[in-house]
């Protein structure tokens, strides 16, 4: 049975590589991760950018390199050009008495302020160790925007995984090949497992890739991530099968996925915007629990016990969905 399941999976994989739409869905999580990286700044990126002329201020540069991102250009003209570019970069010109700070004029005030402070510290040769400030934190290492995006990315990825399944089923429906499978010595269960592998793998690989690309590997417990993504993709897979069985062409399948986006978005919004007193309003939605669980995983503070009961809730809802969906899927696969 396992060999035949694998045969079904390999066929799907093979065909998906030939289909633009499917291929697109496989790479979306990766594109998305790079896009988030480009647009959502991490904490370590909120630093000042300084530009110096090569050869000038070598001592200052050595001192400031610990605190700021430093660029060197070959002469004053290049420095001027660099400062005038759209981003927020502050130019340091000259040494000693003649030294001045060159800005474009539209930089945020605190960027310029920070640059000024840095210059002062370097002039007085102050070190971080000289500070008497004591800093306490909660150990959050990643920017909240990035985590928000990563979490939505994970939700979207498992949804896409389900959609990939529905595309593969729509393919079989359009070619009318399910009837051929029905008269082959392969059990329905083996076939359904085979068809599901693709979705589960895409979800697992896509989500892992996303976490890696976003640089969250340090905080995230991958075993927890994989387990939870697996559990939550069961729901997407069922949705994928149902959509596939109910759609006669690719466009219908894509359109019905949009319908699933609605409860998904509502769950995210519910979690983020409802006060603690009203959170229960979203308890019905598996996506709510998935989002909540993912958030803890991404922040690196999901305990195994929490993972267990979050998974139990998601599986419980999945079982209810299954009870409703299974007869419909079975009916759709006959003939």
């Amino acid at each position: 049975m396992f060999k035949k399941t694998l045969t079904i999976f390999k066929r799907d994989l093979h065909v998906s590589y030939r289909d633009f739409m499917s291929l697109f869905m496989i790479v979306i999580p990766i594109i998305l991760a790079f896009a988030v990286n480009a647009f959502a700044p991490g904490i370590e990126d909120t630093t000042v950018n300084l530009v110096f002329i090569e050869g000038e201020n070598t001592e200052t540069i050595a001192y400031l390199e610990d605190f700021a991102k430093i660029t060197k250009v070959k002469d004053y003209d290049s420095l001027e050009k660099r400062v005038l570019r759209r981003d927020n970069i502050v130019g340091f010109v000259g040494e000693g008495e003649d030294a001045y700070i060159l800005t474009q004029g539209n930089e945020p005030e605190d960027v310029v302020m920070f640059a000024k402070l840095l210059k002062t510290y370097s002039e007085y040769d102050r070190k971080v160790e000289d500070s008497t400030a004591i800093i306490k934190d909660f150990g959050v290492k990643t920017s909240p925007t990035k985590i928000l995006w990563a979490n939505m990315g994970i939700l979207l990825t498992s949804l896409l995984a389900g959609m990939l399944i529905s595309l593969n089923i729509v393919e079989e429906k359009m070619d009318n090949t399910i009837s051929a499978i029905n008269v082959a010595p392969i059990s329905r269960t083996a076939w359904i497992f085979g068809k599901s592998i693709m979705g589960i793998l895409v979800a697992l690989i896509g989500c892992s890739a996303m976490v890696l690309i976003l640089g969250l590997a340090g905080t995230v417990n991958f075993l927890q991530l994989l387990i939870f993504v697996f559990v939550s993709s069961l729901i997407s897979i069922m949705i994928g099968f149902l959509e596939g069985v109910n759609s006669d062409d690719v466009m219908t399948a894509v359109a019905s996925t949009k319908m699933v986006m609605l409860p998904l978005a509502a769950s995210v919004a519910g979690y983020e915007f409802l006060s603690a007193k009203w959170q229960w309003v979203m308890y019905w939605s598996p996506f709510y629990w998935v989002y909540k669980g993912n958030l803890s995983i991404l922040n690196g503070d999901f305990t195994w016990l929490e993972l267990l009961w979050h998974s139990a809730i998601v599986l419980g809802i999945a079982a209810l969905v299954f009870a409703y969906v299974a007869p419909r899927i079975r009916k759709g696969l006959e003939n």
């Binding site: 060999k3 035949k4 066929r11 393919e171 079989e172 090949t177 010595p185 059990s187």
Partner: protein, 284 residues
């Protein structure tokens, strides 16, 4: 190879039967034709035999298996060629066969050899989606032979094919049958049935009217006729006469005596004519 006893089937599970009280038996090695007009219940019966439809009432065994509880293993011995071709458009012809072959637990035939048999040699690397209708049909047909089936279901195997290819397909069926393969053939086409079948069943409105060999049917119901073409005052005339009817016989003798006969053929009754005669219905 197949036994069907008092089979009933209703799609809505009411008294409106698509198939009612159907019984027949197909011994090993026979080519059995299932003939009837559209909506007669042919596909329904075949669906039950192949497990595509749940058995509701009656006893059915296929290749030694009770159809009440379909065992997937059964399909290792069965081949099924569908009326409407159903192959993966995004896969090449050969990939289609190789994939399907992996689903069997029994030795399967070489895909290239099968492609050659159905006249698709050299087309193995083309995606089935780019095939013409007839080519897809032949691929579907070839696929049904992958597992060397003992029992072969053929649903309209030659419909829509050009005559040359249709005769190739007929040849393959005959050849397989000579090797001992039992064939269950569903068709509207009486000529194919006549040529291939050892016995045929006439089915209408879910009812089997009779089961017999084409030869017996012709002897029993067929009225043989003579078609005469003769010149009558310079004009060519064609007339058909029964060889049994006394009036016709006299007329024919008259023409032979007096006219200038050009051609003369005896015409056997076709299976189609017999069907109409027996059932009072056209085969549409």
């Amino acid at each position: 190879m197949i036994t069907v006893q008092n089979l009933y089937h209703s799609y809505n599970k009411d008294d409106n039967y698509a198939v009612k009280d159907v019984s027949f038996e197909i011994p090993k090695g026979e080519v059995f034709g299932f003939l009837g007009p559209s909506g007669a219940g042919k596909s329904t019966t075949q669906g039950i035999l192949t497990g595509l439809l749940q058995l509701q009432k009656g006893n059915v065994t296929v290749a030694g298996y009770d159809v009440k509880e379909i065992k997937r293993k059964m399909f290792n011995q069965i081949g099924m060629s569908f009326e409407q071709s159903n192959v993966y458009s995004k896969m090449t012809a050969k990939e289609n066969l190789k994939f399907y072959a992996k689903l069997f637990d029994v030795p399967t035939r070489d895909p290239d050899e099968l492609l050659e048999i159905v006249g698709l040699e050299g087309k193995g690397k083309i995606r089935a989606g780019e095939f013409s209708k007839g080519m897809k049909h032949r691929l579907t047909f070839a696929r049904s032979m992958l597992n060397n089936p003992e029992l072969w279901f053929l649903d309209e195997p030659t419909t829509g094919l050009d005559p040359a290819i249709a005769s190739v397909i007929k040849g393959i069926v005959k050849e397989q049958n000579e090797k001992g393969v039992t064939v269950f053939l569903t068709t509207h086409n009486m000529y194919i049935a006549d040529e291939l079948c050892d016995r045929v069943a006439f089915i209408i409105d879910g009812d089997i009217h009779l089961i017999d060999s084409p030869k017996n049917l012709k002897l029993e119901y067929g009225e043989s006729k003579v078609e005469v073409e003769y010149g009558d005052n310079g004009k060519l005339k064609t007339e058909t006469f029964s060889t049994l009817d006394e009036k016709d016989k006299k007329k024919l003798a008259d023409i032979i005596a007096k006219q200038n006969i050009q051609t003369m053929h005896t015409k056997e009754a076709t299976l189609e004519e017999i069907f109409i005669k027996v059932t009072g219905r056209e085969l549409i």
